[in-house]
Symmetry: none
DNA sequence: GATGAATGAGTGTTCATTCAT
DNA sequence: TATGAATGAACACTCATTCAT
């Protein structure tokens, strides 16, 4: 709308592209192999630029990892907020949110893997990213308002905490991506097939709704 | 010198002890840092024996990792089967199983972390452990029999698959340990406190029961 | 716009100021860390200008180092010649010169450190500075004339070479600054305290005078 | 005399030789280029072993540098104590000590250069070597006893501190090696020629003796 | 069987310097 | 002129693994 302030030179645009290129490649590598398993050399090779540029833009392997993590969280938050389900009837809104959450995890296994890695590292990098809590507030507020409406309409149980609800939804969605490999080997069930996905999507929605709905 | 009843020589017993010592240390290191993050030198140092013995008993870092993983799964299976809840009324039996599953995860974060690591590695090591599926059958059979009884008593819904049920229970239990660090930073909720644990335990049982029960 | 008396344009003055600014910072860095230990990036950062300007004015790290060295020698020579002790009685003149030399080293440890560094580098940079010998002639001539007067007055020994005398004075003054750290650790004596300085100043004067004086 | 305790295996002897080999090469490199200027790769290349072994034995570049420094000091102390001049008449004893000190510096420029480097680094490595002060005590005690005898025989001045005396001797000996390059370029005098050495040796002895002797 | 010594390929990182605008 | 982006060669250091005794 207003193009004045963003007077970027060709050079600056290139720099941003270089950064994004590095982040794209690093994102893939870190999510596939974890922080310790990924190799800066390999990342550099798959990039349009050089290893030196990685250090120029991100200072260290850890710095790059943190930037990758931050961007991954930015993206899921952006998606969550883009979908505005609050205006639907509470029952439908909640179903939509659960389905959306499930789909996001399903379609972004690299995000799930990054989060796993970060937890294996005991959250030492996410701890250095500021404002995470405040950036997550909208998701919780959205759930809160839906819960309130549902309670007012006497279709949802009272006393359900929106953070607990979010946790439950995420747990069920996350597991189907995070534990894909061990579950496959332990039980012979492959979460990755379209049929399995569709079936599980319904189940998770049913499970959460059964818990929230007035019995 | 060598008394009959013991079929094992002193030497063999020592060998087993050495193996267990190494596995204990390696288990801790791998679960804390993942496969790539752990260091053979560090593991050897924390052991009563030497680095040479690690290679003698396990051939390679990967071999050691796989042995650690296998032992961890053996232990959870043993625990699951030790608890015989099938004789309780189906409602109580299921509640007991969920609670037990939740507790096991809570009390064995190193197991959870190993499973995460293995999934980050795309299950390449678990894939080399034989008979996993058959070893997991009892858990599923146990759930099946409880579900059957519940359906027969008209208190559980029909058509619930025991593997899906196990998946749901595990997902909810696993997440509270696996995503402890990122959830804490994202939402300020610490899963590790006793109060949080007790509260979540009840919630998870309620959630699963709401889904299974005839409504 | 451009007033006559000043032969330099504003631009040229700025250039000189930039040069001096860089030299000041580089002097500190090189004397603290040596040529190999100092970092161009760090020097640039502590400067009012940019890294590009360092290369503009001095071509290379070595060029900058050489300029720093040259300026340091210029300064000590200027100081030596500013003090005109030749008119004093030879005995007093020599004492004054020794004291002055001692004080200069004491008060300019960065000069001492640069000279040390340059000797560690086997004098490869000073070798490229022209006219050093001729610029040092006045100091020697001054000592010569004092020695001559002292001999004529029969208070100094004959046959003392002014360069040897300068060497002796410098050696004693230099060591107290150059070897400060190792001497402290080896003998527990700190050259840097005011008491230690005052005491040593007297001693050095006495030592040199004992050697020069007719005995 | 007693060969029991030193039962070294061939293997251990090799290890010691490897260590010494590395120290020899590193000593040369560090003294020629300083800590920052020397390259681990280059040191390794000139060695019979590999870079890996340097880290195995010395942990880091700094660790290697410190070991080099410690050995250099050990050697000069050993030499100082091997020469037992205390039994000579005080006048001759002191002359012998000064000459010996001068010769040692002259013949071990690599020691002088290491000490210079360490002072440029502000003594951060020597500070980590224990017992330096106590190891240096014999030198001071030796000077003390000579001074005492000289005073008793009424040929030396009273009140000369042995540490000050050592400092004076060292300063004069050190400078001729340490400042060889800058002095050559500044005054055209080369300390390294045999003639220059012999001349300066006499001068330094005369200078110190003039200071110590009763006037 | 047990120990310290050894290995070589690779791992993250830094350097002085130059380019493009 | 002045600045941020870019470069590639080199740098200190580490890894899992094996050898020799």
């Amino acid at each position: 709308m207003n193009d004045k302030p963003s007077a970027l030179t060709r050079r600056q645009i290139n720099a941003i592209e270089t950064r994004e290129d590095i982040l794209d490649v690093a994102s893939k590598e870190f999510s596939e192999k974890g922080l310790a398993g990924a190799r800066i050399d390999e990342i550099a090779e798959k990039t349009q630029t050089s290893k030196r540029m990685i250090y120029y833009h991100f200072n260290s392997k850890d710095g790059l990892y943190q930037a990758v993590l931050e961007r991954a969280y930015d993206r899921i938050r952006t998606q969550e907020q883009a979908a505005r389900f609050e205006d639907l009837p509470p029952d439908q809104a909640l179903r939509a949110i659960i389905g959306h959450n499930f789909d996001y995890h399903y379609e972004h296994p690299e995000f799930v893997r990054l989060v796993m890695s970060e937890n294996v590292l005991m959250g030492e990098h996410i701890a250095q990213i500021a404002n995470m809590k405040s950036r997550n507030r909208p998701v919780i507020q959205s759930l809160q308002s839906i819960l309130d409406k549902g309670v007012a309409q006497d279709i949802f149980r009272e006393g359900i905490d929106p953070v607990d609800l979010h946790m439950t939804i995420s747990a069920l969605s996350f597991y189907n991506v995070s534990n894909r490999y061990t579950f496959l080997h332990n039980f012979g069930v492959d979460f990755a097939t379209p049929a399995s996905r569709a079936r599980r999507r319904v189940q998770i929605i049913e499970c959460v709704m059964a818990w929230v709905k007035k019995g």
